[in-house]
């Protein structure tokens, strides 16, 4: 079972690297869909989350539904509606981003090592993956020009935080009402961002956030 969890985590890491180097919008959304599904599956295979109750199973399904279907669906719709040009338009190039991703992995391995965490089940890889995903999400938000890539960066960051949450919290502290609230917020957040993106594209005929630099002091 441990191996399966590690395999999933390795998959998440790969998806992070892929998303940093991907130059097509649709490809990026596909990668994020996969990442969302894998991330929501991870708790299922963790040792300290073994005793699965009905409620947690329900939670898992809702998680899968939101991360795997609703959010990607909304992203697809946003891309289609604004019929944007397909490229991602990086501020920092693909190769540099990929390299930054690798540096992030090494840095998070270093941080995890230094933290001397008593991680439940000793999943060092879980913490490494979580920190890398979080950092790469932030990086993506800053290093890409399109509004929709920033939303994707935000999603990736949320994935990372969710992983940290599962890495750190024992089963006793995860309250499903609360997780549900978090998910709902995330969902509504993406919806609001989607509406804003839509309006950006209508106003500027593009989703380039470099247009959004009128307000300054």
């Amino acid at each position: 079972m441990i191996n399966l969890a590690d395999a999933l985590l390795a998959f998440v890491l790969l998806s992070v690297l892929l998303s940093l180097s991907s130059n097509r919008m649709m490809g990026l959304v596909n990668i994020m869909t996969l990442q969302g599904i894998v991330v929501s599956l991870v708790p299922l295979f963790l040792e300290h989350h073994q005793d699965i109750e009905t409620s947690s199973l329900l939670m898992l399904q809702i998680m899968l539904l939101v991360k795997g279907m609703l959010i990607p669906g909304m992203l697809y719709m946003a891309i289609k509606k604004v019929s944007m040009r397909r490229e991602v338009e990086p501020i920092i190039g693909y190769h540099a981003s990929l390299f930054a991703g690798l540096v992030m992995i090494i840095a998070s391995a270093f941080i995890t090592d230094r933290l001397h965490l008593n991680l439940p089940g000793n999943h060092a890889l879980l913490m490494i993956t979580a920190i890398t995903t979080l950092a790469a999400g932030l990086f993506l938000m800053m290093a890409r020009r399109k509004a929709i890539t920033q939303v994707i960066g935000y999603l990736m960051m949320e994935n990372g935080i969710y992983l940290i949450g599962t890495a750190l919290a024992k089963e006793t502290h995860t309250m499903y009402v609360v997780e549900f609230g978090v998910l709902l917020d995330l969902l509504v957040g993406i919806m609001v961002m989607g509406i804003v993106i839509n309006n950006i594209s209508r106003t500027f005929d593009d989703v380039d956030t470099s247009h959004l630099a009128q307000l300054k002091d």
Binding site: M157, E158, I164, V182, D185, G189, T209, L212, D217
Partner: protein, 475 residues
């Protein structure tokens, strides 16, 4: 059933969003009255939270709730007048979002559970975004985008901080519900390192929302682009709610004997905010932006006062109340100015003393109040904070604090003088109306009265709110 305080606005908000705008305006004011009534019931401890796993009526929460409720009532009256005279697209949506905004803010004020608090703060971002985007201009769009993105990222970091606090529970071997009130009781057993890390992330996260520099970048844009009732609400109510999250985390650290650590962080962030506000206020070109930077300054003062401790915490809570009252009044006045001159630029205004005399009085008095002149309460609160800082011997901080106050006053006064007395040869587009003046005056009057006469229950509530972090009127 104190939960009604946010359930009522949710319900009426849905109604307002689907009913015609004229009906919606009535609903807005009526729900504000109902909200105030529920809040007063909560103060008299007649209404108690029934879902006490997630919500509780703490003194600091009740304080923020009352301020929010009073400010919202007056803003809603103003909104009715404002909506009649400015052309607003999708007005039902605006009214609905105003009520949702009230609901989520009340939820923040009452929530005790760490994650419920997080959910509520994130929800305030999402329901207030449409308010900023009301006028659908390019600038409004940019402000909304910045607001949603920066605040969401900030709040995500606050969630990370909350997870770290959970971890400190696990490492400390504590098994209590994830609530501030139960955590404070066992604070000494929590793992200190993760508690500290959690506090930093929570300050960064909720500090983004509160407008502490250097995470404040969304604030001037959102405050200047939102329609004036929404700006007043953002500045007068939302910032307090975000502060509440930081305050609760601070009292947790204080209970865990890490008070000096969290105090220092708050002092540093407070001073940075004041310095940044002082730098940007001097050459400001927009009068709403100027007020936005003043909000950053005042949030800095509150954080500073809480960090200093002792009598300064009392000052900080007084400052919170008076800042909400005066700043809301100022933003409501800018609504009249904007309607009158049709521009947000200071250059396009002038001679307000003759052209908009009643607005001028409210605006000028508000500016005097926010700069710390008596008879407005900020005079007392800033004085108490300075006393507290002297008592605890933080001389460098006091010098920076007073210097910033002076620079901000000088920069602001230049702008206000220019707007009030400079020659202006344009026409006034929309005349002043009583409905749009009375709320500003009422807010200023409340601040003035509170400066001279403080009701005993308010005083007791502030005292019991600050006693959890060792503050007091004598300390």
């Amino acid at each position: 059933m104190l939960e009604l305080v946010f359930l009522i606005p949710i319900f009426t908000g849905i109604m307002a969003a689907f009913l015609p705008a004229k009906l919606g305006r009535g609903i807005l004011v009526i729900s504000a009255l109902l909200h105030l009534q529920m809040t007063v019931l909560g103060w008299m401890q007649i209404a108690k939270p029934s879902m006490d796993k997630y919500f509780s009526a703490t003194p600091e929460g009740l304080l923020v709730l009352l301020v929010t409720s009073v400010v919202f009532l007056l803003i809603s009256i103003y909104s009715v007048g404002y909506m009649q005279e400015s052309e607003t697209p999708k007005e039902p949506l605006f009214l609905g979002c105003m009520l949702f905004f009230l609901a989520t803010m009340s939820m923040v004020a009452l929530s005790d559970h760490i994650i419920v608090l997080w959910v509520a703060v994130e929800a305030t971002t999402l329901v207030s975004a449409p308010l900023i985007f009301l006028h659908r201009t390019k600038e409004a769009l940019e402000a909304t985008w910045k607001y949603v993105l920066i605040c969401s990222v900030g709040i995500a970091l606050a969630l990370l901080g909350s997870f770290f606090i959970t971890l400190s529970m696990d490492l400390g071997g504590v098994h209590v519900p994830l609530r501030f009130s139960s955590l404070i009781e066992v604070a000494a057993q929590l793992d200190p390192i993760w508690l500290k890390a959690g506090f930093i992330f929570i300050v960064i996260g909720y500090g983004t929302k509160m407008g502490l520099a250097p995470m404040h970048t969304w604030l001037p844009d959102a405050h200047s682009e939102a329609p004036s009732p929404a700006s007043a609400l953002l500045s007068g109510a939302l910032l307090n709610c975000a502060f509440l999250g930081i305050y609760k985390a601070h009292s947790l650290l204080y209970a865990a004997n890490l008070g000096s650590y969290s105090s220092n962080i708050l002092i540093i962030f407070g001073l940075i905010s004041m310095v940044i506000a002082a730098i940007f206020i001097v050459n400001q070109t927009g009068y709403k932006r100027m007020l936005a930077y003043s909000s950053i300054e005042n949030m800095g003062i509150i954080a500073f006062g809480i960090g200093i401790g002792g009598i300064a915490t009392y000052g900080a809570f007084l400052h919170l109340i008076h800042h909400s009252l005066i700043k809301s009044s100022l933003f409501l006045s800018t609504g009249n100015i904007l309607l009158g001159y049709g521009s947000k630029l200071i250059n396009k205004t002038g001679n307000m003393a003759r052209l908009l005399p009643k607005t001028f009085i409210a605006y000028f008095a508000g500016f005097a109040g926010i700069s710390g002149f008596p008879p407005f309460g900020i005079f007392i609160s800033e004085l108490l904070i300075i006393f507290g800082a002297f008592k605890s011997g933080r001389h460098v901080s006091i010098i920076i604090f007073i210097l910033c106050l002076a620079v901000i006053f000088a920069g602001g006064a230049r702008i206000v003088m220019r707007m009030s007395f400079k020659e202006h040869d344009g026409e006034i587009l929309v005349k002043e109306k009583m409905l749009r003046l009375f709320p500003s005056y009422a807010l200023l009057l409340t601040s003035g009265v509170l400066c001279i006469w403080m009701p005993d229950s308010l005083y007791q509530t502030i005292i019991s709110a600050i006693s959890t972090i060792g503050g007091g009127i004598n300390g």
